[in-house]
């Protein structure tokens, strides 16, 4: 009888049992070093600024001013009908730029749909960066040339791509790091979870950078998560979580540089949460007054990333009126050029629709292309 064997028939030794842990269980990674600090890291306003390279600080300042201007210009372009839509990063420039500049040239950036500024800060031509949002094509640049993945609209879906790419690079022996950007809302998606887990299991050289800007369109963080912080999610994957003031560009740059370096050296992935704020509406099409009070925005203006750095540099004698003007002028030049180039209608060939669906055009698409060509010709004639 089968069940007999599963019960114990022998008399019990008195000393036989003590609470032993189950055999499979052993204390694994110590969770303590994975937990984020209790306060977001700040560098600006602390003595640590003194250790920063003044050239870097000036570069960051110039980029911040340029980024702020870029946001304003792109928003203006939506009003002129030159962009279909623009999700602004006004107020988030420190995060966008601090992150982008933490990468080496061989590293990859995986931006979300909001992160054109990070791409531009990496050196991508703003017109190419804005192609998606202008609407003449989906991706306006060669991702391999720039090592910038296509701007990703379905939230968090680019995170597993970053993991896969980083993993592939490591398998090939390249010391390439992938930086994947996502919003606070995006952390709720299953793809976020799966990506972080894969990264930790594979010890892939990838850094996940969450810009917690307080909202996912209209939904505030409190309706998005009950976690102590988003950075606390890291411990559940066995990777370190870091919390940083996303408006302190020096702190962002420092935390990400550390994480990138760690990843490059084989130390595995990191999750960084930057606390920041979306000053503008979700996009130009959104009306933020429907879901948040002006007062909240004002509080954050006082914590403006450009302002924080400008004060610090000025106080430390690293920036004067002249420097400010130079940065502003450079930004204005960029904006004028962008405006001018975006005011030209892009030259489009509708036949492109059929060119890249497959490596080789199928007979079916050839037929459909011929149909459109005939229609266009007829249209041309009738004009």
């Amino acid at each position: 009888m089968q069940q007999r064997s599963s019960t114990v028939q022998e008399p019990l030794a008195e000393t036989a049992h003590r609470p032993t842990p189950p055999p499979a269980w052993r204390p694994r990674t110590d969770p303590a070093p994975l937990l984020p600090d209790t306060e977001p890291l700040r560098v600006l306003g602390t003595d640590a600024v003194a250790d920063a390279d003044p050239a870097l600080l000036r570069r960051l300042y110039a980029e911040l001013v340029r980024g702020r201007r870029y946001n304003a210009q792109a928003t203006a372009l939506t009003k002129q009908g030159r962009l279909a839509v623009y999700p602004s990063t006004t107020g988030q420039e420190a995060s966008e730029i601090g992150a982008a500049l933490a990468l080496e040239e061989r590293d990859w950036l995986f931006p979300s749909y909001r992160d054109t500024l990070a791409a531009v800060a990496r050196g991508l031509d703003p017109v190419q960066a804005l192609t998606l949002l202008r609407g003449d094509w989906h991706t306006g640049y060669d991702p391999r040339e720039h090592r910038i993945a296509p701007l990703c609209t379905p939230l968090a879906t680019q995170l597993p791509h970053a993991v896969g790419l980083a993993h592939a690079a490591r398998l090939k022996g390249d010391d390439v790091v992938a930086l994947a950007m996502v919003g606070d809302g995006g952390t709720s998606e299953g793809d976020f979870h799966e990506a972080l887990n894969f990264a930790a299991v594979w010890q892939a050289p990838v850094v996940f950078f969450v810009q917690n800007n307080g909202f996912a369109i209209s939904v505030p963080l409190a309706k998005q998560t009950a976690a102590p912080s988003l950075a606390h999610k890291a411990v559940g994957y066995g990777m370190p979580g870091r919390l940083v003031d996303g408006n302190d560009v020096v702190a962002v740059h420092q935390v990400l540089t550390e994480a990138v370096t760690r990843a490059r050296r084989g130390g595995g992935p990191t999750l960084v949460e930057a606390i920041t704020y979306r000053i503008d509406a979700h996009t130009n099409a959104d009306d933020a007054t429907r879901y948040r009070a002006d007062g909240e925005v004002e509080t954050w203006r006082a914590h403006d990333p450009v302002l924080l750095l400008e004060r610090e540099l000025t106080a430390r004698g690293l920036l004067d009126e002249e420097g400010r003007r130079a940065a502003a002028e450079a930004a204005e030049t960029m904006a004028a050029e962008l405006r001018e180039r975006m005011n030209a209608d892009p030259v489009l060939d509708p036949m492109d629709l059929f060119t890249h669906v497959y490596a080789e055009q199928t007979a079916q698409l050839r037929e459909q292309a011929a149909q459109l060509r005939a229609e266009l010709e007829a249209e041309g004639e009738s004009r």
């Binding site: 279909a84 839509v85 749909y113 998606l132 949002l133 202008r134 609407g135 003449d136 094509w137 989906h138 609209t153 379905p154 939230l155 809302g185 995006g186 709720s188 998606e189 299953g190 793809d191 996912a216 369109i217 209209s218 939904v219 309706k223 998005q224 998560t225 959104d286 429907r290 879901y291 892009p346 489009l348 509708p350 492109d352 629709l353 059929f354 669906v357 079916q364 698409l365 459909q368 459109l372 229609e375 266009l376």
Partner: protein, 345 residues
Amino acid sequence: MTTATTGAAAARAAGRAKPATMAQALQRAMRDAMAEDPTVHVMGEDVGTLGGVFRVTDGLAKEFGEDRCTDTPLAEAGILGAAVGMAMYGLRPVVEMQFDAFAYPAFEQLVSHVAKMRNRTRGAMPMPMVIRVPYGGGIGGVEHHSDSSEIYYMATPGLHVVTPATVEDAYGLLRAAIASDDPVVFLEPKRLYWSKSDWSPEAPARVEPLGRAVVRRPGTSATLLTYGPSLPVCLEAAEAATAEGWDLEVVDLRSLVPFDDETVAASVRRTGRAVVVHESGGFAGPGAEIAARVSERCFHHLEAPVLRVAGFDLPYPPPMLERHHLPGVDRVLDAVARLQWEAGN
């Protein structure tokens, strides 16, 4: 769009009419359903405080409270999965997926649970639920915002697939969908959200039965079979066709599942020719099923093969090129011209 209904006409006569948009009609349908039935719960991303990115749920959270109209975390599988659990406990969730392409993360929940739950429990556990999906293009949206995903739902037994093309139907069909004891994927043609009609939110409103197509324009030469965003295109084409001497019948399918073979076959048998028109890609698209079943059922009445006018078989184009993709009046007329008029009657 220029269809008239008796309800609206009556309301207009009573001096109460104010033109309404499809978005408003949808909102009113949810409002009325929520007021009548406390088990109706609206949920999704930004549906509460904001009232939805298309404002279709505007005011519901305010009127019924956040427990009845809930801003969820940003996770579509989680939203639909939670809705499954709510339906298990007797609620009637009305879920909004923000855009067509953003419903894909919930695909597994939809196919493996929503569609199958009634069947796998021998009817013990029905899934009365509406999944509202704004779909289709024509609004200048960037990639992933303009997909026509109806075939994925049509091919999944257990789901109803419904799509309104008029303001009146938006109200009537959504009410019926919410009242249905089966899950309904309710496809809202986003470029018709702002279409207006004499239908008035104040007018007495009609619940439309599910599963019935309707003849929007009677005609004798050929039948245009269409739905949702392509109905206005077909009606316009039918008007234009009169100049060529064609009197086209236009059938608005409204319900893709179940399919109203009766209305469709009756029309095609009468006219002897048919063109299916939709925005979705043609290959393995909704028109494939429609053309195949019409050919099966009306074979000996057909003077010409059933033709399909559809979007091209490619990822939805970027905003600046979408007009080349979308089937317009000319493409419909071209297809009508190819119906082998020389051959028959």
